[in-house]
Amino acid sequence: MGDPREPCDLPAHEIAARLASGEGSAGQVVESSLARIEAVDGRVRSFLAVTAEQARQRAAEVDRRRVAGETLSAVAGIPLALKDVLATRGIPTTCGSQILRGYVPPYDCTAWARLQAAGSVLVGKTNCDEFAMGSSTENSSFHPTHNPWDLDAVPGGSSGGSAAAVASGQAVWALGTDTGGSVRQPAALCGVVGMKPTYGLVSRYGLIAFASSLDHVGTFTRTVRDAATLLSAIGGHDPRDATSLPGPPPDLAATLEEGVRGLRIGVLEEGFGEGVEPGVRDRIGEAVDRLAALGAEIGEATLPHAGYTLSAYYLIAPAEASSNLARYDGVRYGHRADDPRDVVDMMTRTRGEGFGDEVKRRIMIGTYALSAGYYDAYYGQAQKVRTLIIRDYEEAFGSFDLLLSPTSPTTAFRLGERTDDPMAMYLSDVFTIPANLAGVPAISVPCGVDERGLPVGLQLTGKVLDEATVLRAAHAFEQDLGWTTRPPLLEAAAG
C-alpha cells in the first residue's frame, strides 16, 4: 500500500500548503482528525472534551474563505487541541479537577483568541494532571491518558493529553503549559516536538495559574517548523498580561534554514549523571555527534547550582500555587459542597472534596513555606537559589549559544509505577525545571527510540528571547535525523 498517512498525520505546514494549492479542504482535514479521535481515543484517552460540531463549522468557514480566494494564515484550518488549563469561552475548562467540573469560562485565553482569529480549528480540550501538577497525567481527576507508543505507559505530564493527541494524529498540533517541563517532558515521552518559549513571549492571560512566575504556554507539533509557526501565531505583547514582554509577534520561521555551522553548543554534564537511562544517554550521545558533524562547535558546560533545582522549584511553585488556588472556594463558580452549615464549612468542604491529593499536598507545602517565621528560610531562600540558577545560565551563555541535555532522564514509564513515590515523579523534571526558573526558551525534539522502542527527547536551551537559534538548531538536527517512525498504535490501525 502507499502512504498510510491520513491528512491528520501530516505536519501543519504540509496541510497549509495543500489547502493553499486547492488540494483537499479544511473540512476533509478536520474529518480525518475527528475520525482518528473516534478510532483511537477510547484507548489513548487524550481528550476531556471533543468539540466536533464547532470544529466542523469552523472548518467550513475556513473553506468558504479559501474558495472565495482569501489568503489563509498558516494556522487556518489546522486541527488544534488545547490543554484543559487554557480558558475557552463557552467550552468547559476543568484543569483536570473535580473542583472545576462543569465550569465554562466567560472568556478566551489570549493564545486561543489569536489562533481563533487566524482560522484555527479546535477539536477538543485535552487531559492533564490536576492543575498541571504532575509529570504523568495520572493526577487527572477524570482518567489517565495512555502513551500512543505503549498503552501501558504514561504519556508524561502534565500536558500528557496534548502530547498524546499530537503523537496519535488526533490533532495536528496542540498547546500545553510548561511550569517545570510540562510541555517538553511529555513531548519527549510521546515522540513529538515540544517548545517552551521565553517567559513573557506568549501571554499567560487565560492560562489557569499553577505557579505564575513559572507558567508558560508551549507548543506540541510534529515538526520544528510547525513549532516556529505556531509560536509566531500566539506570541507577542498582550496588554492584558502585565508580565508579557513588549514587541510584536516574532517571525520565527525566517531563520529556520540557517543550520548549526559555527553554533557553540554546550553539553550539560549533569545530563549524563545518575538516574539517566542508558537508552537515553546513547541517543543523546549520538545527537551530540550528529550536531558536531553538521558543523556545531561542541563543548562541555555546567549549571553549578542545578543540584538545588528541585528544592527551589518545590518551594516556589507550591507557594504560588497555594495562593493561586485559593479562589476555588465554591462561592462564584465550580464545585460547591452540598448543604453547608456556614461559609467556612462551605469553603472547607468544597476544597476538601474538589481537590485531589497532589494538589492538596502542594497547597500544604506552599502555605507552610509562606507562613510567618518560615518565609525567609523557605520561600526567600528558594528565590535566592533561583537567582543563582539565572546567573548560571548567564555564565554558560557567555561561552555557548545553546545548551544541550536529555529532556527527561527516562523514557515513558509504566502507569502506576511512580504514583506512590512523589520524589521519583518529581525527578522526571530535573532537566526541564531550570529553564522555567530562568525563563529561557527550550525545546524538546525527538532523537530516536530506546531499546524498548520508546521515544527519547533531546533538549536544546537558548538565551532569553533567542527562540530563533533554538528552533534553527532543532530544525537542522531534525532534518538530518529524518526520524519518521510512528507509534505502533497507528501502524496497527493502518495495517
Binding site: 487554557l86 472568556y107 492571560y205 495559574a209 498580561d241 497555594s322 495562593s323 485559593a326 463558580y333 509562606l370
Partner: protein
C-alpha cells in the same frame, strides 16, 4: 481632654481612600458607586481562573499625587504583594496590596488645632484593591440570623490607597482636624470624592495611653467601623476615656480590635479569633515592580493644585480675613474658588467673606445642599456686596435678595427691582414720611430733644415700617435729626 494630667494619648490613623478613576484598579470595569449588584464585573475582578491583573496607570498617578501632596518620597521601585486570607467578598481570596515596598513613604500633614499648627507624620501611602460587599438578607440584618449571604462584586477591584499616619496624633480633636485636613487635601487633588457615608473614605484608628513622657507606647487598641469624622472623634473620646480609667484602676488592657457602635456610643471588643491571621504576604508574581519614570513624577508634581494649607496662608495674607473665616473659605476648592471669583468680579473681600460664612452658609445648611448644588453664583455675591455697599439696598434687603437668588437663581438686580428692595433715598419722599412719623410720635420726639438720643432708633424703625422697609435707614436718621434739632 485632660492635657495636663499624668497620661498621654497616642493615636495613629489608617485611612482607606477609594480613588475616583474611571475604571477599576486591575481591569477595565467602570468604577462607579451605586450600580445594580454585579453589573460592573468581569473575569478579572470576579477572580475567574486564568484572568490577570494589569495595574491602572491613572490609579498609580493618583496615588503619586497624594504622596507628593503629603510630602512623601515616591519610591523609585515598589512592589505589589498578595495578602492571603479567605473571605467570600474577596474574589481571589487574596488582596493585591503593597507591603514592605510601598509607593510613597515618609510625608506629613500640617493641621491646625486651637490656632496651633501640629505636624502629623505620614508613614506611607500605598495602593491596593477594594473588596466586594456581603449582604445578609433577613429581617435583622445580623449575620448569625441570616439564612444565606449575597455577594456584590461591583466594588471588588476598585482602586484604594491606604494612608497610614505616624502615631503623632494626641487627641480626638487632633484626629478630627487631621481627617478634615486630609479630606480637604484629597478633594483639592481631585483624586477621590471622599464620602465617608458611601465608604469612599474609611478610617481605622490605633489608640493607646501611656505615662506622659514615656518612650514606650501603651497597649494598642485598633478601632474599626467609624463612618464619619464625627464618629471617629466620638469613638476616640470614648476609647481614650476607657483606657485612662483602666490605667487609673489598674485594670490590665489587652491588645485587641474593637468595634465602634455608633448607636450605643461605645467601642466593643471583636472576638480575637477573627483576627488571628497570617496573611502569608509574598510578592505578586503577576505584576512587575512599579518603577515610575522620574520625568512622569515631576510632571505630576508640576500639575498639583494649590493645597488647602497653602490657600489658607494666601487668603489670610491677601484678604486680611480672620482665621475662622479663612478656614471655611480656604477649606475646600469649591468655597475658595467661589470666593475668589466673587472678589475678581469686584466684591469687597471682607464683605464677601461675611456674606458667605454667615448668610450663605446658613442657607446651605438649612436646605442641606452643597455650594455647588445651589443656584447662587459668584456673580450674585459680587452684585449683592456692591449694592449693599453703595447703599442701593439695605442689608436686610440684601438678605432677602440672597434668599430669592438661592431659591430661584435670578440676578440680584432683577430681584431688587421686582421686589422693590431699592432703598428710598429721595429726600423729598422720605422727608414726607419723617414728618408723618414725628407728628404721630410727639412723646419720643420730645424725649430726644431733652437729651434721650437713644429713642432715635425707635423713630428710625417707625420710618422703616411706614416705608415698607424701603427707606435708606441712614438717610432716615439724618432727616430725623435735622428736623428734631432745627424744627419745632
Amino acid at each position: 481632654m485632660a492635657s495636663n494630667d499624668a497620661h498621654e494619648t497616642v493615636i495613629g490613623l489608617e485611612c482607606h481612600v477609594e480613588l475616583s478613576t474611571a475604571t477599576k484598579m486591575f481591569c477595565g470595569c467602570p468604577n462607579e458607586f451605586g450600580a445594580p449588584p454585579n453589573t460592573h464585573v468581569c473575569e478579572v475582578c470576579l477572580g475567574h481562573p486564568g484572568s490577570l491583573p494589569v495595574p491602572n496607570r491613572k490609579a498609580v498617578e493618583y496615588a503619586i499625587r497624594i504622596g507628593l501632596a503629603l510630602g512623601c518620597e515616591i519610591a523609585p521601585r515598589s512592589l505589589f504583594h498578595r495578602k492571603n486570607y479567605f473571605y467570600p467578598d474577596m474574589p481571589k481570596n487574596y488582596q493585591i496590596s503593597q507591603y514592605d515596598l510601598p509607593l510613597c513613604v515618609g510625608g506629613h500633614l500640617d493641621v491646625e488645632v486651637d490656632g496651633r499648627t501640629r505636624r502629623i507624620g505620614i508613614t506611607r501611602v500605598h495602593l491596593e484593591e477594594d473588596t466586594g460587599k456581603t449582604v445578609h438578607p433577613g429581617t435583622t440584618g445580623r449575620i448569625a440570623e441570616a439564612e444565606y449571604a449575597l455577594e456584590d462584586y461591583n466594588r471588588a477591584g476598585v482602586p484604594l490607597v491606604e494612608i497610614v499616619s505616624e502615631p503623632d496624633v494626641r487627641s480626638a480633636e487632633e484626629a478630627r482636624a487631621y481627617l478634615t485636613e486630609l479630606r480637604a487635601t484629597l478633594l483639592a487633588l481631585g483624586v477621590s470624592d471622599v464620602r465617608m457615608e458611601e465608604g469612599s473614605l474609611r478610617c481605622d484608628a490605633n489608640v493607646s495611653v501611656r505615662s506622659r513622657g514615656a518612650a514606650e507606647l501603651g497597649t494598642k487598641v485598633e478601632i474599626k467601623n467609624m463612618n464619619s469624622i464625627r464618629s471617629v472623634e466620638r469613638a476616640l473620646l470614648f476609647e481614650e476615656e476607657r483606657q485612662r480609667r483602666a490605667l487609673a484602676e489598674g485594670t490590665p488592657l489587652v491588645q485587641e480590635t474593637r468595634h465602634w457602635d455608633e448607636d450605643a456610643g461605645r467601642t466593643l471588643p471583636l472576638r480575637s479569633k477573627e483576627y488571628a491571621f497570617d496573611y502569608r504576604y509574598f510578592p505578586e508574581p503577576d505584576i512587575p515592580p512599579l518603577e515610575p519614570d522620574p520625568a512622569w513624577i515631576e510632571e505630576i508634581r508640576a500639575s498639583l493644585p494649590e493645597l488647602p494649607a497653602e490657600r489658607r496662608a494666601r487668603f489670610a495674607e491677601a484678604f486680611d480675613l480672620p482665621p475662622a473665616q479663612v478656614r471655611v473659605l480656604a477649606g475646600s476648592t469649591e468655597w475658595a474658588d467661589f470666593f475668589e471669583e466673587a472678589v475678581r468680579l469686584g466684591a469687597d473681600p471682607r464683605a464677601a467673606a461675611n456674606w458667605m460664612t454667615q448668610d450663605l452658609a446658613g442657607l446651605l445648611n438649612q436646605h442641606r445642599v452643597e455650594l455647588s448644588g445651589s443656584k447662587v453664583t459668584p456673580a450674585h455675591l459680587a452684585d449683592l456686596v456692591r449694592l449693599v455697599g453703595e447703599g442701593t439696598i439695605s442689608s436686610a434687603g440684601g438678605k432677602a435678595a440672597l434668599e430669592e437668588a438661592f431659591a430661584k437663581g435670578a440676578s440680584v438686580e432683577q430681584i431688587v427691582e421686582e421686589r422693590g428692595l431699592r432703598q428710598v433715598s429721595d429726600v423729598a419722599a422720605l422727608g414726607a414720611i419723617v414728618d408723618e412719623v414725628l407728628a404721630e410720635n410727639p412723646g419720643p420726639a420730645e424725649q430726644f430733644r431733652s437729651g434721650k438720643e437713644g429713642v432715635i432708633g425707635f423713630l428710625v424703625g417707625q420710618v422703616m415700617r411706614r416705608s415698607g422697609g424701603a427707606a435708606n435707614p441712614k438717610l432716615a436718621q439724618d432727616l430725623l435729626r435735622e428736623r428734631l434739632l432745627t424744627g419745632g
